[in-house]
Symmetry: C2
Subunit: 452 residues, 2 copies
């Protein structure tokens, strides 16, 4: 009998690795264990489904279990939950929920793609039925039913991160009254406060009841308790971030990393030989801070999974790491960031200069030109770029990718000035906003050197 | 008396350098000589003015002569044409057209920003009044008058480069009958033939009479002669590229470079001490091919001018070079390129692998998602990226900047796969089209290595 790869987790991390490994090593027997009923899907699309921008739940399904079986000869078993990993015996204990039985499944190689789950702080009533996370397609179904239900008038979103904001807007589009409760002084804490400020105005402009500095303290049917009083709620949506599903790995004795994620090396191997991980359950290296970080993003998951899959298939591939890029849309605002914010840079001991510039997305005289603000950080002395944040309208956000590549390459602000970026009046001002920011950042670094 | 900087040329190259130098060294006396009546303006905006997308000629003026005088204390003299440079005597001969006299103007430093002019092949009738280039704001005025003149029914555009295509579309928007005459087998010769093909369809779809492989042979009032017969023409627009205005520099004994451009070093200094050049009149280094090239683009001109200005102002700055990035819009098509095309790569002796992929600008399920085709070249063996071309619709073209930065940093296709680009459904599929292309290119390089 040939070698067997067991994959725990039916979403991006696990299944993409399985596909890659099977392509490289067709003789490999691959068994995929999916706890729920869905394999590969776009969790990032859920807010757009709930808001009615995307029509069908099926639109979010990238590949069904049957497709994995038919096209890639992967033995996908849904409703099968891995409950324990025995590294010495090289086997996984599996609960087959459909047949209400427990199996032992031996493996030669193990791929862990258990993902993450929405953070649920231990508050009274947090497990009540009307308090929902945004994660699986089952969540999506429930949220969609609420969104379409005209009796669901009052929605409280707890947490002002990307998912929280996207869900708040989604329910506004469905005609609900939405209150956003955020414990901190700003939404989008991965942005600096000055860059988040215009988003507050946009949210209020949308009609969202914005309660900053207000933590949820507990839930009862129809109401969310906060220190500033009760808020009526037919539905509560949790947008407090995610925690890695790493308990299984931890119980098996695998080394953990930041925020309880599974520690992987550059090949996506865990601390155990022949055991690999990818996606929201494991950690990454941050290429600017050089720290281990936990980033739960579909793009990162898929890239890590590709690397794990190549290695599982007998090849050699490494995942260099992330630079912390993220993007979202809030009403007509596009918001993006990469690298380190001021808060993060300080926490990592960097001294830096800041540039913040206002420009336009097209030539100033070109119809449809929109405002864009770019904030950029460069290290004191070396001038090395540390990060950037962009807030603007149509055409603004994707410019962050230029900075993401520059960070990966370790460019200085001064080097970024002369980047040969594309220019024509419908696409950019003569000096691209990112380059203007780099110019200001380079000047600030130079001025500081001269005065020092 | 202090030092005097004389600037020849009133557009981007010259005046931007003058401003930069004056800021750094306020005691510098700066005299700017402008042949025409306009200083800093956007030549790239002319097609949009002619097409009616931009309303006013004044919209294209970035800074007037008076603003240079008032805000930067630069002695700008319009209608003053430099007619000779005496490097030994350190003086410029100037024809003052306003007063019909000739002056001698001494300099300590000389900045040459004479730009380029539309190519006018020596064809019979090429100097007739109805044959127009697209360069100065005076050209723009004349073209605009024709565009608004309902008697100007037949417009022939000679040359299918960026300007040719933009002007053809502009006159279509004004209701003219437009014929585009291109001597080669395709428009946009900086793209490979396969990438230019869909643009041909778009042009025909716009109603433009497209005549490929057809060279203009001569002009007579009302008609353009070609080998394939006469084409009626109330107006002929030349879109055959530009030639550097370097005769003055050549006559003074300065070293020339490719296509007759002025050779500059990394600080934008010409072959003569204290004599500098920037913009369309001088050359650049191509960072991929390592060749000297002539690139006539406003972005490059401004960057070179900044570098020249810093050096003129007593600082130290270098211009590393270009990677050959360009972008335009033809109807709903966005077209961009950077690095080397297949033709260019072959000419430079590179062997390479090609990836060509179809994807979408947003998540496939997201409303408004548009098609995008990315072609990418990677060097055989090393896998180093050599160039990319993008054709697509809204949201496609600006992605070329990611490749432009990657080329600058010398990344391989394999390294480009793991770039941490921004992802959210309204902005990109999970795998950015550029990354998909990099993945295919890296596979092709790997397959070739394995089979070799």
């Amino acid at each position: 009998m040939g070698e067997r790869l067991v994959v725990i987790g039916g979403d991006a991390g696990g299944m993409a690795a399985a596909s890659q490994a099977k392509r490289r090593k067709p003789e490999l027997e691959v068994v995929g264990l999916g706890k729920g009923s869905w394999t590969s899907y776009s969790a990032c699309g859920i807010p757009y489904l709930v808001g009615g921008v995307v029509d069908e739940l099926d639109d979010l399904v990238a590949r069904t279990p049957q497709e994995f079986r038919d096209k890639q000869r992967i033995d996908v078993r849904m409703g099968h939950e891995a409950t324990a990993i025995d590294l010495d015996a090289r086997r996984v204990e599996v609960r087959d929920h459909g047949h209400d039985r427990t199996l032992q499944l031996g493996f030669d190689h193990l791929m862990i793609g258990t993902g993450a789950r929405p953070t649920r702080p231990p508050l009274p009533g947090i497990d009540l039925d009307f308090v929902k996370g945004v994660q699986t397609l089952d969540d999506a179904k429930v949220l969609l039913d609420h969104a379409r239900d005209t009796d669901c008038r009052d929605v409280v979103v707890v947490g002002g991160g990307y998912i929280g904001l996207e869900m708040a807007e989604a329910f506004i589009e469905r005609g609900a009254r939405v209150t956003l409760v955020e414990g901190g002084p700003q939404v989008m804490r991965t942005l600096d406060a000055d860059m988040a400020a215009p988003i507050h105005d946009a949210l209020v402009g949308l009609g969202i009841g914005l309660r900053l500095g207000t933590s949820a303290q507990g839930f009862e049917p129809g109401v969310v308790h906060t220190a500033e009083g009760d808020v009526p709620a037919d539905l509560v949506v949790l947008g407090l971030g995610v925690v890695p599903n790493a308990e299984l790995a931890a119980d098996a004795g695998l080394t953990l990393s930041t925020r309880g994620s599974i520690r992987v090396n550059r090949r996506q191997q865990t601390s155990a030989e022949g055991v690999w991980a990818a996606g929201d359950c494991c950690d990454s290296k941050h290429l600017v801070s050089q720290r281990r970080v936990h980033v739960a993003l579909g793009t990162v998951a898929n890239k890590q999974a590709r690397v794990a899959g190549i290695n599982l298939g007998g090849g050699y591939a490494t995942f260099p790491g992330v630079v912390g890029t993220a993007v979202t849309k809030v009403c007509s605002f596009e918001v993006a960031r990469t690298g380190l914010s001021e808060t993060e840079a300080r926490a990592d001991g960097f001294e830096y200069e800041v540039a913040k510039i206002e420009s336009t997305t097209r030539a100033g005289y070109f119809p449809g030109t929109k405002p864009i603000t770019v904030k950029m950080l460069a290290e004191r002395g070396t001038g090395r770029l540390l990060g950037a944040q962009i807030v603007g309208e149509e055409g603004a956000a994707k410019r962050i990718d230029v900075v993401a590549v520059a960070l990966t390459a370790g460019l200085t602000a001064s080097e970024a000035i002369d980047l040969d970026l594309s220019y024509a009046p419908p696409f950019s001002p003569l000096w691209d906003p990112v380059v203007i920011a780099a110019r200001e950042a380079a000047s600030a670094v130079e001025d500081e050197l001269r005065s020092g």
